[in-house]
Symmetry: C2
Amino acid sequence: MIETRLTRAFALDHPVISAPMARAAGGKLAAAVTRAGGLGLIGGAYCDAEWIEAQFGEAGNEAVGCGLITWALADRPGVLEQVLARKPRAIFLSFGNPAQFAGQIAEAGVPLICQVQTLRDARQAADLGAAVIVAQGAEAGGHGESRATMTLVPEAADMLARAHPGTLLVAAGGIADGRGLAAALMLGADGVLMGSRLWASDEALVSTAMQAAAVRAGGDDTIRSTVMDVARRLNWPGRYTCRVLKNAFTDRWHGRVDALLAAAETVAPAWVAGWEAGDPVASNTFVGEAAGLIDAVRPAGEIVQGIVAEAEVLLGGGWRRV
Amino acid sequence: MIETRLTRAFALDHPVISAPMARAAGGKLAAAVTRAGGLGLIGGAYCDAEWIEAQFGEAGNEAVGCGLITWALADRPGVLEQVLARKPRAIFLSFGNPAQFAGQIAEAGVPLICQVQTLRDARQAADLGAAVIVAQGAEAGGHGESRATMTLVPEAADMLARAHPGTLLVAAGGIADGRGLAAALMLGADGVLMGSRLWASDEALVSTAMQAAAVRAGGDDTIRSTVMDVARRLNWPGRYTCRVLKNAFTDRWHGRVDALLAAAETVAPAWVAGWEAGDPVASNTFVGEAAGLIDAVRPAGEIVQGIVAEAEVLLGGGWRRV
């Protein structure tokens, strides 16, 4: 057992939160993580009300939370009310200014978890009264920015210690095993948020072809780009990029957004069709540098418990190698 | 005392190596780090034979090593013989293929430390017989690439454990305090290499104006770019970028290399003049995201000892926060 301020605040067995990965983190994954002693989050992401409802159904009676993309929620603010009616264990907001939603979430008595990618946004989220700040480094899969976990976490820890000592801090980005969990605790985090490692789980809503591609890949094989957002015609704010496995699509279009836009009429539908089919060649596999630390797809509960067991050994002195 | 394979192999008191930062890491800094119980390296970088000689003189009788930029050494191979004649504690190579130099270094009986930025290069360096692999993340100041310390270190540790169990591993990038050192050990490193934190030391050959700018800055205020290399007309291979503090120069030219080249006749000399003057406005301050973890310029020996003391507390259970 690794006890931290996070485990105490949320009555968890383990200081582990599952990332609310768009489409991949459904109710089954969230429930499995909660059942294993962590905090599971449904990937509400682009705020598809029907999908979110269905996934809360899949989660059954397990206490799970829900993540939403802040700029997408701003376009569909009614979704927040719908999610709050489900009495989620937490609301997780990322990628945008959470100011307009913090009050409604607080009134509902639901803890607000804000994921941030810069120290500036960490400060803003803490000022807004977030219960937990998730400091996400650029090594993460999917959307993010440029700061690294290794520096953003301790810098945020110092800021919180000075200005908001009661606000909890969680590290995200590049954490996929007990080494990452133990390192995050050393950096000043109260726990970790894991995406890629749980994306490669039995319960994730991910094609086996994409999972197999990620298991084969190493961290060198990923790239941050915007071409997959251009192909999907998503209006991501310019500051965010998305880490995926490199493939022929990124080789062809990365750094050539204008050309991609010019060819969008044929290229975009092909990418979207590949995405719907879970095809890692015709579309992109959303996974982080931690791909290099993942060697098999396993049940989410086993993953959580294995990581915690490994971290316990390290924290007990097992980091000493002969 | 934190004992690791690195401290045993090099008979150090602390598992800390100072980065051989070009121009900044002279003999005084290297000697101070060695005297404090770490391993100090002179920043031989672009292979200016005269400067390197002078800095070995400044180091006196302390056992220091020397770092060289591999692609620069390939243009001036005679410098390696000169440095080896100084009987350095180690030769540190980074940014290029070390294959053509490994034999000569081994014949001289000098340990080879290879800094790498990808798993692929880590494997190559280990295959060549490097005694130590330094896995450098993109959060580092100065030149580097895109992988993060948080994932590159454990992935390299796994590779070495399988293929080269006797090769040591050192983490670099974003490490500036005891939290970073303790985290690196958890990730599987045998020690750390620190640049920015020791750049902001009394002994570093850095202007007080640049050091003051870095102390004021946070990690959000840095950027990876190539414009400072374009301005200096240095032939850096395209895969490497350089992290500096953002300023009016990077605001103006980042992402506009063609325009910078077109304006080079006037812009480049102004940047170089600013650089020679140590001016953080007219040129750029080479520091990493760890700028956000540095609050004062201090003596290098105090820095090393303070970091180790902080890490010892964390490793002894001090990571538990109430």
